[in-house]
């Protein structure tokens, strides 16, 4: 997914002279063709995220479209004020590409885990948040990022993730229903779609039919679709590779709470609890540590369906 994203930046830049790339201190050879062919639009500016964002804002205020790339934690929380003021307040076309969204960098420990990136980006007016589920969706999405108004945060997954999306036109701000079922709704973003799809199959085997809503755009959230599906199902579960504080689950909870459905819903957020993850290992083992698994999605839905609110 990361390689596809950067390949797209290169391809877009070849045909659009407004497109610039600004990296921090990325791996050797990053976008080397871009650098070789368009050196005056390629910048590698060092481990100085505040300057990287401000400089990108300056370019964008002059009409350029800037793709800025570094590790997700550093491009969101390290330079949060620059993102807020230089990008969002000025409403400029800077596209933040965050490597390793969620717990991709599990072996590197809590300094490198982007587990609140969606929450903090979501609080910023004018920010768009994109988290595609696989490389093919990334390829459909990236061309639309060029002319989309205002700043964008693009959350990258590990890479090599299974292709689980359909080949259909991408729209920023649109939810993609991936499965239909009357008993429950599973709402996901990013690569968690994989787990939701597996969980839905497992539920089906147990006689429970779940819809799946894939939200590659977390902000602005396609609230109408959430209301439509949530209104028709008694059980709603969100799944995210992110803290349950302020991310997709919170956003969905806000929509459901304000929908004022005539009958109460049984709702649960599955995600990382309000802690700093305390283990290394791999992305998969850390997700399992916090019960972000297909099995847990299933058992949560079954428990909610049975009226167990505290599963």
């Amino acid at each position: 997914m990361r390689k596809t994203c950067l390949d797209c930046v290169y391809e877009i830049a070849k045909t659009d002279p407004r497109v610039f790339f600004v990296g921090s201190d990325l791996g050797i050879g990053t976008l080397k063709e871009f650098k070789a062919e368009m050196p005056d639009r390629y910048f590698m500016e060092g481990v100085s995220e505040a300057n990287l964002i401000g400089m990108s804002a300056g370019l964008a205020l002059e009409g350029k479209v800037v793709y800025a790339n570094t590790i997700a934690t550093f491009i969101t929380r390290r330079c949060f004020e620059q993102v807020c003021l230089d990008l969002c307040l000025h409403n400029v076309k800077v596209r933040l590409i965050g490597n390793g969204g969620g717990v991709v960098y599990a072996p590197l420990g809590p300094t490198h885990l982007a587990t609140e990136d969606i929450a903090i980006m979501r609080a910023l007016p004018r920010m768009t948040i994109l988290a595609p589920a696989d490389a093919t969706e990334m390829r459909r999405m990236m061309p639309l990022t060029v002319d989309h108004p205002g700043p964008i945060y693009i959350r990258l997954a590990k890479g090599g993730d299974p292709i689980v999306t359909r080949d259909e036109p991408f729209t920023i701000g649109k939810i993609f229903p991936m499965r239909e079922g009357r008993d429950a709704v599973i709402i996901t973003t990013g690569v968690m779609l994989q787990r939701a799809l597996i969980a839905a199959e497992m539920l089906h085997a147990n006689g429970i039919e779940a819809s799946i809503l894939h939200c590659p755009t977390v902000k602005p959230l396609d609230e109408n679709v959430i209301r439509d599906y949530a209104g028709q199902a008694p059980v709603i579960v969100t799944v995210e590779e992110h803290t349950t504080v302020g991310g997709l689950g919170s956003a969905v909870a806000e929509v459901i709470a304000e929908a004022c459905f005539p009958a109460p819903k049984r709702f649960r957020r599955i995600g990382i609890p309000d802690v700093f993850p305390d283990q290394y290992g791999s992305q998969d083992t850390l997700l399992a540590r916090y019960d972000i698994t297909a099995e847990k999605i299933c058992s949560t839905i079954e428990a909610l369906q049975n009226g167990n609110r505290y599963h």
Partner: protein, 281 residues
């Protein structure tokens, strides 16, 4: 070795400098608040920039060929507002709505709201990086326009200033001129007490800039230094302007009680105006 006490500057102000300060005082009175001292140290810097240096068209503030001027120490905005109004970017009557709900001029300058303002600033340490991006773009476009960024000494406590300085030095942005308002006072005390910046010019030179130091209230010195920019053919320039916080009003000068002021009484207003009248050439 620089003095470690509050600076003294005996430069007399001419009629134009006095009138600009009067305008600032009136706007502060209208808004019932404002950064008095921080604006007064900037008056000659902006006056010379807009009278003698910058290329711009107040009737077409987004003219692509204009020089970009960013006030990174946004709290000094009244000096910029006074000069922009004087040049016709917006009617002077806007100044009398300073910080009012129906005004465009707030306590920090906003891009998109105030004609002639290139970037929204207020939180310190942002303007220089934005200026770096603009200067890189000017070079990319092969446009002769230049980028001027006005920063402060207290602002230079921010690490982001030095990230931007490294970057400007790396790219040898000879189309960029930084003016540093070195009034040696910040909110809590002198810069020497709070976070000493000296030797300041040497720091900037070490970051790849060509540096000069001038009396920031001496219009002739400012003009001459700016006329020499770029100070080196292959480097960004910085002019360190030695100034006085509150310059022009004896009881405001170096007086931190006037860093930011609210609720100015009629008596204080009278005293400000009288003192201004007494301190000009």
């Amino acid at each position: 070795m620089a003095t470690k006490t509050a600076p003294i500057n005996t430069t007399l102000l001419d009629e134009r400098s006095r009138r600009l300060r009067e305008t600032i005082v009136k706007a502060i009175k209208a808004g019932n608040r404002g950064h008095v001292g921080s604006s007064f140290s900037l008056v000659e810097i902006f006056r010379v920039l807009y009278d003698d240096v910058l290329r711009y068209d107040p009737k077409n503030p987004l003219w692509p060929g204009r020089d970009r001027c960013i006030l990174s120490k946004g709290h000094g905005c009244l000096a910029l507002y006074a000069v922009l109004a004087d040049k016709g970017f917006f009617p002077e009557t806007e100044l009398w709505k300073f910080c009012k709900p129906d005004g465009i001029l707030g306590g920090h300058p906003e891009y998109g709201k105030v004609p002639g303002v290139e970037a929204s600033t207020g939180s310190l340490g942002h303007g220089l990086s934005i200026g770096v991006g603009m200067a890189i773009n000017a070079r990319f476009e092969k446009s002769p326009h230049r980028v001027f960024v006005v920063i402060s000494d207290g602002e230079s406590n921010e690490g982001s200033v030095w990230e931007a300085a490294l970057c400007a030095g790396k790219h040898r942005l000879n189309n960029m001129v930084v003016l540093l308002d070195y009034n040696k006072q910040q909110s809590y005390g002198t810069t020497y007490e709070v976070l000493d910046l000296d030797p300041l010019a040497d720091k900037w030179r070490a970051f790849g800039f060509a540096a000069e130091e001038v009396d920031g209230h001496n219009v002739g010195e400012l003009r001459a230094a700016l006329a020499r920019t770029p100070l080196a053919p292959d480097r960004p320039s910085i002019i360190i302007c030695h100034t006085i916080k509150g310059k022009g009003i004896s009881f405001v000068e170096n007086n931190l009680n006037w860093h930011h002021k609210t609720k100015i009484s009629d008596e204080e207003m009278h005293a400000l105006m009288s003192a201004l009248g007494a301190n000009h050439a």
